[in-house]
Symmetry: none
Subunit: 147 residues, 2 copies
Amino acid sequence: MGLSDMIAQFILAGLEQSDGAVELSRGSLAERFGCVPSQINYVLTTRFTPEHGYIIETKRGGGGYIRVIRVRLSPRDLIMHTVNAVGDGIDSASASALLQNLRDALGERLTAVIAAACSDRALRGVEPPERDGVRAEILKQCLLRAL
Amino acid sequence: MGLSDMIAQFILAGLEQSDGAVELSRGSLAERFGCVPSQINYVLTTRFTPEHGYIIETKRGGGGYIRVIRVRLSPRDLIMHTVNAVGDGIDSASASALLQNLRDALGERLTAVIAAACSDRALRGVEPPERDGVRAEILKQCLLRAL
DNA sequence: TATACTATGGTCAGTAAAGGTCAAAGGGGA
DNA sequence: TCCCCTTTGACCTTTACTGACCATAGTATA
């Protein structure tokens, strides 16, 4: 497991303990993991995005902080919200992030199946220019049926 | 026995030892067999396909990997038979018919979702000439994940 | 009050480390 | 010989991590 994954786990653990919201110090966290501060930003922007179901609030300057907040909606709202968030096109990474966020609402098996339907592997017969558009359509149709 | 067969055997042996799922490093494997990395892709795409009953998961970048998963479970034969029946392309009507046969094995909701993923509606962004090929790929990937 | 210092966090481009794709060349069997 | 399966290598994409430089907020001081 890479550094980024360990940092992400640490944050996740904090969220678990504190009911969905933690406040971090970028500098201290970086020091704890022996990396440069910007590594923390990397972890946040790749693993704690709105698509993953998180909100980030920060403040600079003296006494600055980074707050990570996990968003929780009802299963139905979550699915509807996701359908609306998909838009006309979605890349592979964003689709999996969205789907992971729906895991509880959809169940393990359904999530895996929809992820498979949206995977680049399944869509390798579609040329890249149109691939994200097709993926978006498949994802939306699946989610609507799962509702 | 050719190089590809030896590599395939090596992977098979790993699957045997680890209960149906192995994680490989493309670079290391290639080095071990003294071939170019893309040779590994060749082996995977010719011998560990959905038709053979395998799922491939990969991650690029630092700490990347290739995971080979052998599908197992009880309704396996029925589903594998279907996967093989799909072939390189399948029209909308045939896909629905195939899915209806699997209704008991998959359950109502899953069947509906996979049908949605394979629908012309979901694939309206794919031009008819290629549509059946894309549908076949989606269907196979979904069925393997549904096992 | 205005200015300067200090303490934070943010951005972005660059580097390295994987894996992916595809077309062309090679080789063995019918 | 011809065809199909193998093998190779050049080029591409994605992910991880780092460091230099930037922006902002609080605090001390002239």
